[in-house]
Amino acid sequence: MFIFSYVLLMIMVMLSVAFLTLFERKILSYMQCRKGPNKLLFKGLFQPFSDMLKLIFKEMFYLSLNKMFYLGPMFMFYISCLLWLVYPWIYMNNNMMYMMVYMLFIMSLNVYPILIISWISMNNYSMMGLMRLISQMISFEVLIFLIFFMFLMIIEDFKFIKLFIYQMDSFFIIMYFPLYFMLLISLLIDLNRVPFDLIEGESELVSGFNLEYYSSLFIYIFLSEYMNLLFMSMILTIFFFGFYYWTIMFNLFYLMNLFLMVMIRGVLARIRYDCLMYMCWMEMLVLMLFYLIYFYLIKEFIMLLNF
């Protein structure tokens, strides 16, 4: 019976992805002093569906007879769908006890499908994208984990519901605002969005890892990327502004976070790769470790005050 909620969630998420493409195109174009697509139906609302139809009607052929060729993108889509199981329903607490660990686990698994995709298309461009991808994603996984570990220390439990309980007095963004910026940057990197989209850098590697992928297999890749984007915005909203998902303020801040993540694409240029690595290992990781020590001392202080 509860399967109906999850099925509806998936359908709605995929519709949101379709409209997210239009959202992104319109915003980027307004930032460049032009209007985006506004011809189809009513001010361009039918555009995403026509994009999907175009992709479905394109030609389909196999680059190699290996089954991994079409299973790779499907696996990517599958992982992004599994990530949405963490959605914080309040009435169906199915195994809600360890949701944070599950979420981290699935986010770490995002590396493998892209590895398979880049390897199967026997092209030097994809291979270069692959090398960059691996280093980028695994470096920032450590950082993302440490930020989540900070939250686990604040909340003292792996459940999501404690987030709402601890944010009854004040939002977390007020007290832990450095974490907001660090998490924003790390999530953007984990999603391979500009300014960190080195693996699909259009002017360097011709479309990077999804070079030899057309039509339906490309649909999987790009669906999974945008579904991850939606999920990360939700994570930012829940962690820092702890509203329940049925309030209107949740909607407002969720759209604000999504807007921010999309707008960054139109403003910043792509980062150089060694600057990216320096940023992770030298600057942000050290900052994060010191912040963890500092916060743990605060907890000790609180404990001693109330002995």
Partner: protein
């Protein structure tokens, strides 16, 4: 538990639908060998298909391995914060964070983080 299996079959159903829609609605084009071989700047490739082994990427993977084990051991600390007294916990957590910090600073000083080509 069966709910998750139903969820998984639903997702597989969606992927199956997308794949088959594409298969039966796609255009029929002539099979051209030029589409199946890798390209390089639009022409046939000159260089062979294997990239030289890059040291920095490998070093980063090793670094990640070390830190990954540490963060895997940090996950159960959360439960200990609730049940153990803070004198023990301060020693344990500071040990872990101190080890991570020293590892990182040592690597920095020894030059493993310098991005060389």
């Amino acid at each position: 538990m069966s709910m998750y299996f139903m969820f998984m079959t639903f997702i597989m159903l969606i992927s199956y639908i997308i794949y088959n829609l594409n298969k039966y609605l796609s255009m029929n084009k002539k099979i051209n060998l030029e589409k199946k071989i890798p390209f390089e700047c639009g022409f046939n490739p000159i260089s062979k298909f294997n990239l030289p082994f890059s040291m920095p990427f490998f070093l980063i993977s090793l670094l990640f391995l070390i830190f990954d084990i540490e963060i895997t051991m940090l996950i159960p600390m959360i439960m200990y914060l609730k049940y153990l007294n803070f004198l023990i916990m301060i020693i344990i957590i500071f040990l872990f964070l101190y080890m991570m910090l020293t590892t990182l600073i040592m690597e920095w000083m020894l030059g493993y983080l310098h991005w060389m080509f």
